[in-house]
């Protein structure tokens, strides 16, 4: 069996100088060779691992036959955002984990191939793909939030002929794909292309609309929307609750990434929004957001960036690929370490983080070994910037302003098997219901679209 073909990447020394894409993708021959590795299983287990049910062997067969147009048509039948998924999905935990070649250690690079097919279509010299859409049935559906869950739900409903309007509170659509994931992993131009595609199949976008405040869910129904999908994400940043965490130059990862990604602070002062990044940056947390924040800080000129994580590398929730990318870019890792306080100067700017060493004890509710502080192990680290990336909870605003909708004790919307909330006609998916990744959110958006179709017919 031929070895899995490695995807082309820019060298770390070059890519830390800019925000351009780290991964360059396959060339046509690499894509064909990788596609030929697929065994075309009669009962493809990979598909069972895909939350959006892509016909994986089908699109790979098309690539093996050097027919990228057919491949992208198969992808878009199920997936409204293939160039996004090809970049940010954790395939190693999903389709590729279920690939029969995984047992031999090297699954087919399904994600890389998806990306190749999607990028092929983006190349304007190639013919566009016409996706089959039902004729407009005039039934209005509102989608609240334009992140991966909302976009998927909107795209699927538009394909089924519904008149879909997406409401977004920020001034640009895309949700976490816009404000959270950095340019070097998901270029804004790629996201813009996907949004244009959704517009081309009839999805309407309304920005600067915070549902709950600008108008309520009840008002949406009064305006003639027959169903509402809520995909407002996990927008509420967690802070560690330690002394000094409100010192200046301590950001939530959301603040830091919104400044750089959405507001383009990396082009300050041409763009008005500033971001301060010092020379010694501590990033607290071990997820993908922590990796994104650390690598962004590096590109903003920080000479020394340290990720501080309270468990060991084994428990890190970030993708292995992203941890490896961060390491290549010179990010340092301080494992089994937890901040206990931040110290600042007399003007209120952070100067030190005080940490304590941790050890792993018995597994907790998540199955991961729970960390405990080692008494007397405190030490301080000189820093001038800190970024807190220890997690997010569901955005509570819309829920608190919508009577009749219920949440569980963690603030997640309660939904039934059809993703309908406790309010008739109101569905929800993605982080607001407890999803975690882009692709899980997309899977729920897809399922909700089907449920909304059934509800309205």
């Amino acid at each position: 069996m031929q070895k899995r073909i490695k995807i082309n990447e820019r060298p770390a020394s070059e890519r830390i100088k800019d925000f351009k894409s780290v991964v360059l993708g396959y060339n046509p021959e690499q894509a064909r060779q990788e596609a030929l590795r697929c065994l075309q299983c009669k009962n493809p287990t990979c598909v069972a691992g895909c939350p959006v049910e892509i016909n994986i062997p089908g699109f790979i067969k098309a690539l093996a036959e050097d027919d990228p147009a057919a491949a992208i048509a198969i992808l878009k039948d199920k997936n409204n955002l293939p160039s996004v998924c090809g970049r940010v999905c954790p395939q190693e935990e999903q389709c590729e984990l279920k690939c029969v070649l995984q047992k031999k250690g090297e699954p087919v690079a399904i994600g890389n191939l998806e990306r190749y097919a999607a990028d092929w279509e983006k190349n304007k010299s190639n013919p566009g793909i016409n996706v089959a859409t039902a004729s407009n049935n005039g039934i209005k559906v509102a989608v609240v939030g334009s992140g991966p869950a909302g976009l998927t739900c909107a795209g699927d409903l538009a394909k089924k002929g519904f008149a879909v309007t997406v409401f977004e509170s920020l001034h640009r659509a895309g949700g976490v794909l816009r404000y959270g994931i950095p340019e070097f992993r998901l270029p804004a131009a790629i996201l813009d292309d996907e949004l244009r595609y959704l517009e081309s199949i009839g999805v309407r976008f309304v920005v600067n609309a915070l549902i709950g405040r600008t108008k309520t869910v009840a008002e949406l129904f009064n305006e003639g929307f027959r169903a509402v999908f809520i995909g407002t994400g996990a927008g509420l940043p967690a802070f560690p609750g330690v002394p000094g965490e409100n010192l200046n130059h301590i950001y939530s990862a959301n603040e830091f990434l919104v400044r750089v990604n959405l507001m383009r602070a990396f082009e300050f002062p041409r763009y008005d929004t500033p971001v301060y990044v010092g020379k010694k940056v501590a990033v607290i947390g071990g997820g993908n957001t922590a990796m994104d924040a650390a690598r962004t800080a590096r590109r903003m000129g920080a000479g020394n960036v340290t990720i501080i994580y309270r468990r060991s590398e084994n428990e890190m929730p970030a993708r292995r690929e992203e941890i490896a990318h961060a390491r290549e870019e010179g990010i340092e890792f301080l494992m089994l370490t937890n901040p206990v306080s931040f110290h600042g100067d007399d003007k209120g700017f952070v100067q030190q983080v005080e940490c304590v060493k941790m050890e792993l004890g018995a597994p907790d509710a998540s199955g991961r070994r729970s960390p405990a502080a080692i008494a007397g192990s405190n030490f301080t680290l000189a820093i001038d910037t800190a970024i807190i990336a220890i997690g997010m909870s569901p955005n509570p605003l819309l829920i608190s302003l919508t009577p009749g909708i219920s949440t569980d004790n963690r603030g997640r919307l309660i939904v039934d098997d059809n993703l309908m909330t406790t309010m008739p006609g109101v569905f929800a998916g993605g982080d607001i219901t407890g999803g975690e990744t882009v692709i899980q959110a997309m899977g729920m958006g897809k399922k909700a679209a089907r449920a909304i179709e059934n509800f309205l017919r």
Binding site: V207, L210, G235, Y251, Y271, D272, G348
Partner: protein, 280 residues
């Protein structure tokens, strides 16, 4: 795009823009604000909704030129547009029948207390207004406030209008006069709000302040507007912007307001008069 219908100069560096924003005009309540972005390269800043005309579909934004964005806003004229306006945001003022209410506005804060004063008056309260500014030229909305309040006091630092001194001097006198004040509501520079809070704490009078920390999204997503209130950390954009004045940790608020001062200076210099970007 949000079209500017009229522009009114209220004082040397204070302007009012009436802007077409029908959805906000129809549902903004006293105490709420918007987050706006002037143009495609602009930053997002919060501004209080100082008035609204639901029938005409406009909201009033009153602001002092202090930074890059407020200067850019001041250069716009009727017929121009603001790129983005999101709102209404924040928890509205709790308007109820209390009895005697004192509203205090410092500087451009006078614009922010106006809708609150009107609402308290409409709810049957006796409203006393105190507004202060450095000098006579910087006193704004005098007639509107007079109409909204049962009694209006004006103070200026230099005595060029009203009485010489600070809003806090008048507040102290009113309290000394044994008036039964149910609520003091104050908006203005942080040092002013802090002095007011200290006076009313001693007198045991419930006091609400509307805070204006740095904001980004305005929807509770980034946490840059976090303020310590008692022993809780609150996000001013969604939990506020109004808080119990006696619980606000003022030192931290003052420090956080200066968090980007260096960068703000660079931004303002880039757009200072005579700079090439203005000649375009």
């Amino acid at each position: 795009m949000y079209k500017i219908i009229t522009k009114t100069r209220l004082a040397a560096s204070i302007n009012r823009l009436d802007v077409q924003a029908p959805e906000i005009a129809g549902r903004a309540r006293p105490g709420q604000f918007v987050v706006l972005r002037v143009n495609d390269t602009g930053e997002r800043i919060p501004l209080t909704v100082a008035g609204q005309d639901p029938a005409g579909g406009t909201i009033s934004l009153i602001f002092q030129e202090t930074g890059k964005t407020t200067r850019a806003l001041a250069q716009l004229s009727a017929g121009d547009s603001i790129r983005d306006i999101l709102g209404p945001l924040g928890t509205p003022t709790k308007i109820e029948h209390i009895g005697n209410v004192v509203v205090i506005g410092g500087g451009v804060g006078a614009a922010e207390v106006l809708p609150v004063a009107k609402a308290f008056k409409a709810a049957g309260n006796t409203v006393t207004g105190i507004v202060g500014a450095r000098s006579r030229e910087l006193i704004i909305l005098e007639n509107e406030l007079k109409a909204a309040c049962d009694k209006l006091y004006i103070t200026t630092d230099d005595g060029s209008s009203g009485r010489k001194g600070f809003v806090s001097d008048v507040l102290k006198e009113i309290i000394a006069g044994n008036a039964a004040i149910g609520l003091v509501y104050a908006v203005g520079p942080v040092p002013m709000m802090r002095v007011v809070a200290n006076i009313t704490r001693e007198a045991g009078i419930k006091t609400t302040v509307s805070l204006n920390p740095i904001m980004l999204d305005g929807t509770g997503m980034c946490g840059v507007c976090r303020v310590r209130v008692g022993d809780m950390v609150k996000f001013a954009c969604v939990d506020g912007p109004e808080f119990d004045a006696h619980q606000v940790q003022w030192d931290e608020l003052i420090s956080r307001l200066a968090g980007f001062r260096q960068e703000e200076k660079i931004s303002v210099e880039q757009h200072a008069p005579g700079c090439t970007c203005k000649k375009e």
